[in-house]
Assembly symmetry: C2
Homo-oligomer: 867 residues x 2
């Protein structure tokens, strides 16, 4: 069961990787970007949150001769996980050589790309949606269109972030494929002139139903068919070395466990590996062994029983949603189907489509069981009174969801096999109706944002004869994600409400009990907010049944319980726009013209700094930064760990050559040091750069750092403007930048109707959030010269900073900026420090050095802009 090689197709080409050749912790994205010619797939966040890395993964079932296609975040999917799959990136849709795909052309024609960094991921999300819609059994669409609907088009790339363009034009490009689109409704584009009544599908780059791309090459189908006959797996467990195991039965899993590998090396058990994108659960070190349990058949069961449905733990969340929706559809009793439908709907807001496609149901639940993880799924399954089936060595046991969550954190000896969700339809007799509502409070309505708090409440509602009042019974009121170890049931509230007529005082007491129940853990942000939202949820749930309370919800029409379903995501109002159409007067000024080379951005051929092929011997750097402000750095050490073994060297202020200076960038207020040495001035200031052979190694190695600080003889840091004023600590503003008085303030105020007597204005600040983090590639050239590629808004400043830091003439530094994946001011001066650091490393090591800041380092180090 040890994997010897990974075979897959990438844009139709065969790739075979010997297991020893690539570390099993390598993500699909890392492999594609560093080992293949395709660099269209971008790294934006590395945590499943931005969509820049979206690819299409296709799997093939030889028994059914069927191909399944789905989008996935290649930044989380591990390379070994796609054995025998086919992967399509945007280059596979179309390119300069083979011609561009209509998606790519329409992205261009609808002005749907600016910096272009998000565009390949957008294209892949759109393509997957089109391909899957066209595969469906829906009726044939109008000629030239897809089966996709406008409403689906609006959601096709939910999860894909764009920081420059705004989503309208992208939605337009996507909608232009929809079977039910009114082309007139679409915005400004190069295909026709708005208002000219010229919109007509024939003017659009032609679309072929199905997408027109072979997503699964025949050679791989044959290989899969023939590999059915002879398995090439090695069955032994080697304790030394770096391996990937994929047990094919529960027995094999426990064989592995019994072999002792868990005691001897660091092991990671994975299904979709998306937990690597979850805050707090990201890899903090390298692992030596991976056990992929996704191939154990018991973990993929789907068992529809009368009493409910059992879903294997390895089932992806998106498939779980499909199953639940299907199940809901197959239940005649509307009142019963609502539970499955509501669960499915709630799950559609978990993460992003491309994460849900690989993230397993079980993985989510296990996270919720083991760690204080704000899971939605655990909460709603608890609310739906689910049970789970567990395996512990040779024993199988079934426990309620509550019992499961309350167990001590599971260790690898327990496998979660499946989840059972009861079918409430069988319960719903004439005399009672099942009511389930789920809630989540999160920053975005379409998902891709972890909940501040979530809840699922289920109860039976019945008429209290003879009063005719509605009463609730059999209540399951689950709350989670509010800063709790795991989701809980508000049992006191349930008991209190059971059988009672919901008078204002009963409800108020319930609220009081809930407030006592929902107690966010120490350190949770906005605790009061979360509690008050919980109260709101309770109130929403109860108000339809309450007596004499006018709630925000609808009133219950008991005869049609099915329609309780408060619409939100399914019936979001379609987005609309207002556009000012330019007049012809100054023609051709105002004429919409195509931005140059959007097709190249869309097809992934546009070259950003990190797309420049790594030169031979290239090394990778990750910043070590201070976590304190104003302190002496006494010592920088690295914990002994697998990742720290990968450290080739550590470059710090000591490595600045004798003629050079500790300068990271030259600001208008003077030079800024590259490293906080010997005293760090602020948290996030660089202390050095750790160098390794891959960016991932460097990043993980950076996490092993232990810095010893000392604040002896130092004043407390100045952290606010007020403290700065108090301490008389000012930048010297160059005279030409002094603010100039405009108008006569006193006169104006004196004449004003409403006078400002006293006021305080505070400007908040915001992270720049360019899609491409800071990145640079420094290549030493002959005679102490340095060629530095940089994603910068100020390459000239980088040149002077590098020259000053290295103590070499300006003429020996060549700074080249290629495409910039968003800047918004954040790649002005701040990009120079990164370039200077890389140049210093390259100068010291005499080897090319690349740095591509991971999102969290970028957020911490680069700082923020003020509006």
């Amino acid at each position: 069961m040890r994997l010897e090689r990974v075979v897959f197709a990438l844009n139709g080409r065969r790739y075979e990787v010997a297991a020893g050749d690539v570390h099993p912790g390598t993500t699909l994205l890392e492999f594609i970007r560093t080992r293949t010619p395709f660099t269209g797939t971008k790294l934006g966040c590395g945590e499943g949150g931005c969509g820049a890395c979206v690819v299409l993964i296709a799997t093939y079932d030889p028994t059914k001769d069927a191909v399944t296609e789905f989008s996935a975040s290649s930044c989380l999917t591990l390379l070994y996980n796609i054995n025998l799959c086919s992967v399509i990136t945007t280059e596979g849709l179309g390119n300069t050589q083979d011609g561009f795909h209509s998606i790519q052309k329409r992205m261009s024609g609808f002005h749907a790309s600016q910096c272009g960094f998000c565009t390949p991921g957008m294209c892949m999300s759109i393509f997957t949606s089109l391909a899957n819609a066209d595969k469906s059994k829906r009726p044939e669409p109008r000629k030239g269109f897809s089966k996709l609907t406008v409403s689906e088009a609006e959601r096709a790339f939910s999860g894909n972030m764009c920081r420059c363009t705004g989503y309208r034009p992208i939605v337009d490009a996507c909608k232009s494929f929809a079977s039910d689109v009114d082309l007139e409704d679409l915005g400004l584009n190069i295909f026709w002139k708005k208002g000219d009544k010229g919109s007509d599908v024939s003017k659009l780059p032609a679309y072929t139903l199905g997408g027109g791309v072979c997503t699964f090459p025949d050679f791989l189908k044959s290989e899969i068919k023939s590999s059915l006959l002879h398995l090439t797996d090695v069955s032994d467990v080697t304790v030394s070395g770096v391996d990937w195991y994929h047990p094919k039965s529960i027995g094999q899993y426990y064989d592995l466990l019994n072999s002792g590998i868990f005691s001897d090396c660091t092991v990671k058990v994975v299904v979709g590996n998306t937990s690597a994108g979850v805050k707090g659960y990201k890899d903090r070190d390298l692992y030596n062994k991976y056990i992929d349990i996704g191939g154990i058949p018991e973990l993929s069961v789907i068992w529809e029983k009368d009493s409910g449905i059992e879903i294997g733990a390895a089932t992806p969340i998106s498939k779980t949603i499909d199953i639940l929706e299907q199940e809901a559809g197959s239940i005649l009793c509307p009142n019963g189907s609502v539970v499955f439908r509501k669960l499915a709907e709630h799950m559609s807001k978990v993460a992003t489509p491309f994460v849900r496609n690989t993230a397993s149901l079980g993985g989510n639940i296990i996270l919720a069981q083991k760690y204080p993880f704000p899971s939605d799924i655990a909460t709603i399954l608890l609310g739906a009174a689910s049970t789970v089936r567990l395996q512990v060595y040779s024993e199988t046991l079934e426990v309620t969801f509550e019992e499961f969550l309350e167990k001590p954190p599971l260790d690898p000896s327990t496998l979660l096999l499946s989840v059972f969700i009861p079918n409430w339809a069988s319960d719903s007799q004439k005399e009672s109706n099942v009511i389930l509502e789920t809630y989540r409070a999160a920053p975005r309505p379409l998902g891709n944002a972890v909940s501040y708090i979530n809840s699922a409440m289920l109860g039976h509602v019945s008429l209290n004869e003879p009063s005719g009042d509605l009463v609730l019974s059999n209540l399951h009121m689950a709350f989670g994600a509010y800063g709790t170890e795991h989701a809980i049931r508000a049992t006191k509230v349930e008991q209190h409400l059971t059988g009672k007529v919901l008078t204002p005082s009963v409800v108020l007491e319930a609220v009081q009990l809930l407030r006592e129940t929902i107690v966010p853990m120490e350190g949770t942000s906005h605790p009061e907010y979360r509690v008050s939202v919980a109260v709101g949820f309770l109130f929403s749930y109860l108000s339809p049944f309450a007596k004499g309370i006018k709630g925000p919800g609808k009133t219950l029409n008991i005869s049609s319980a099915g329609s309780l379903d408060t619409d939100d995501i399914c019936n979001l109002p379609l987005s609309s726009r207002r556009e000012t159409i330019s007049i012809d007067e100054y023609k051709p000024v105002g004429e919409p013209i195509k931005k140059y080379a959007v097709e190249l951005q869309a097809s992934g051929e546009a070259v950003y700094v990190d797309d420049i092929p790594a030169p031979k011997n290239c090394l990778y750097g990750e910043f070590i930064y201070s976590t304190q402000s104003l302190a002496h750095v006494k010592n920088i050490k690295f914990k002994a760990s697998l990742a720290s073994e990968k450290i080739l060297t550590f470059v710090s202020a000591n490595d600045i050559p004798s003629g050079g200076q500790n300068i990271g960038s030259s600001l208008m207020f003077g030079d800024e040091p590259l490293f906080g040495a010997p005293v760090v001035e602020y948290a996030g200031q660089a202390l050095g750069v750790v160098i390794a052979e891959t960016q991932r190694y460097a990043n993980l190695a950076g996490k092993q750092v232990v810095v010893e600080y000392d604040t002896k003889d130092l004043k407390p840091p100045i952290l606010t403007v007020e403290q700065a004023v108090q301490n008389n600590s000012y930048f010297e503003v160059p005279p030409k930048m002094y603010p100039k008085q405009v108008g006569d303030f006193c006169k104006g105020m004196a004449e004003a109707d409403h006078k400002i007597l006293s006021t305080e204005v505070k400007l908040a600040s915001q992270y720049y959030f360019y899609m491409e983090t800071q990145t640079t590639l420094a290549i030493p050239d002959e005679d102490n010269t340095m060629v530095v590629y940089i994603s910068s808004q100020y390459p000239e400043v980088a040149q002077s900073s590098i020259a000053k830091c290295l103590g070499i003439p300006f003429s020996s530094v060549r700074v080249i900026t290629r495409r910039v994946g968003g800047g918004f001011g954040g790649k002005a001066f701040r990009s120079c420090n990164v370039a200077t650091a890389a140049a210093l490393c390259a100068f010291k090591l005499r080897r090319p050095v690349r740095m591509y800041l991971n999102r969290s380092t970028d957020m911490i180090m680069i700082g923020v802009g003020t509006p």
Copy 2:
């Protein structure tokens, strides 16, 4: 005995290569240049003939705690052969960062580098000579000098070719270190002004006795010491896979043999692997298995007996020379020592110093035994009446050299253990003197040129009482290399001469008999020349003893036979120069100034095209060229072989994009096609490019090609100017290039004293022989643009050719020329075809493509210049 990993030091850094990671056929040069940051070591010929690749290899003997240093051609030495060695390249001598080495600085100061391509190799040859001289027990030299002598300095880099600079300045740089140099004698330099009496060692960049470089790092010493305790070798023989075996005993060798690997895969038995540089014996395919027999102790014996000396077959030729010289020195009888001394002397002309350091005695002899190889060593050993010891499975046998040579070509079941050379001193009694002379006719006196013919003649000369004439007996007259299967003894001549007084008629008859004996094989070039040289050798040998013949040689002074030794190499007159020293009149014009950046050339930091780090996914191309002139190419196929398995694709005229044209370069006479398609016009014309993952794979794959030609309907090719005139086949010369008449020819001739009535002038042509062969790197960039690095004298022509060939705008082609390793006109138009071919491949494959023509392809394809 299977090697699991190679551990070595390169410029003090530790390198460890897992056996599976690098093909065992990889040369040290290939590894250094493609896998390390050091690209100073250059590839000039790949066959041990130019010295561009010379490195210092140091070995460590832990039992004696002794380091041995020698120069070696890294283009022939295999990576696996340097396990546990330390390698120093010119970067290790000095560099920008650590400061340059005095050799590098003096190369600059003595104007000893122009294109700089030969310079790193020169530096390494010089350094090795200095280091070894300084290690010797000679007396301390003057302060600031080395123990090297001027005479050694003249030879220090014999074998290193320079095409630009001329050797004088290089010799000067080297001589400047010599203990016995008169600095006044040295040529123009920047350290003092010629004639100013300012020459003084303190003005030269300082030299530290010993060289000042640690050639063997301590960590490797410790590793070697500790590896003595536990051997990590794997003892099994795996039949599949690519492996390197190094049996440590004769038994282990035969275990390997018995395991059947020879029958199942392609195996190469190696010691120094220098045969890979010998014409006709170069690798023509990949091998799967290598057996390094150099570690079998019986092959390294040195056994001095009274009767002679036995030398293990694996002994390097240079060490054999040392042993023979030592042996000669230890023999008191001058007449006896002469044999060993002569053999040593002759061997010093075999190959080059850096080849002799790794080439084994046995390897040479085996080549001579198996193939018609023009060995010097076989001839002289035959002449010296040597015997050899062979192992065939468990049996050991000793045979005379003649018997050995006459055996059918040996197969791997026979191991050559050692060579025994009799000590003729024991024979040389008062009454007879041993006379050995060896001869070789070759283009160059100091070696580095294979013989046209060679010979060794040994005889006992004695006084024929009572006549008082000298007579010869016990003759061994060996001749080789003249176009023979192997060296032979002229037995008829020997018999004829034995005991006879050498009257003119006796000698003449001997000549006649020799002419009957020396019969070059069919197809040998210049057969008559070779035979007449043989006669000359005979005559030279006999003349001192002949009666009434005045020979070219010296007359024999029988009492001091030791001085027979006709000096050549050991007493070459030192080179001298004549220089015109500029006068001060136009100062600073005429002032010697340092050429810019010679130190960078010398330290290997100067970047030539092939030194640009290979971009990720870079592929390599090798031309397939026509071997016929004027023919239809019907079919291009590749033989099934290990090398042809490495072919990724074949690019030909069919791959020229639709808008492009079959243009390789735009000459002043019009465009020249890139490929000879559909009709080839001349032998050497490109037919296509074979693409593989390394240059070596591509080169070997190219050798597998089988082209089918067809000359139907085609006239015979035009091969001479006369045929061209006859066929009225002219280039159209642009009017502005028409020759203009200068003066009045008729008038001049009429007035001349001596009139030319009729004449014919023919200009011969010559290969350009730039040290760096044609090389280019084409990198596709976004939007169908192409960045092409090229070593060219006409980059602007390359730009237009590439644009025309690919059918893209000129502005989409960026041609960059970096340093050019020699051009001499050969990198004008001819370099453009190479660039265009690589650009086409890169365009088709969308990956960077590099081409670095191997010397033989370059010679065949690039053509020649006329003076």
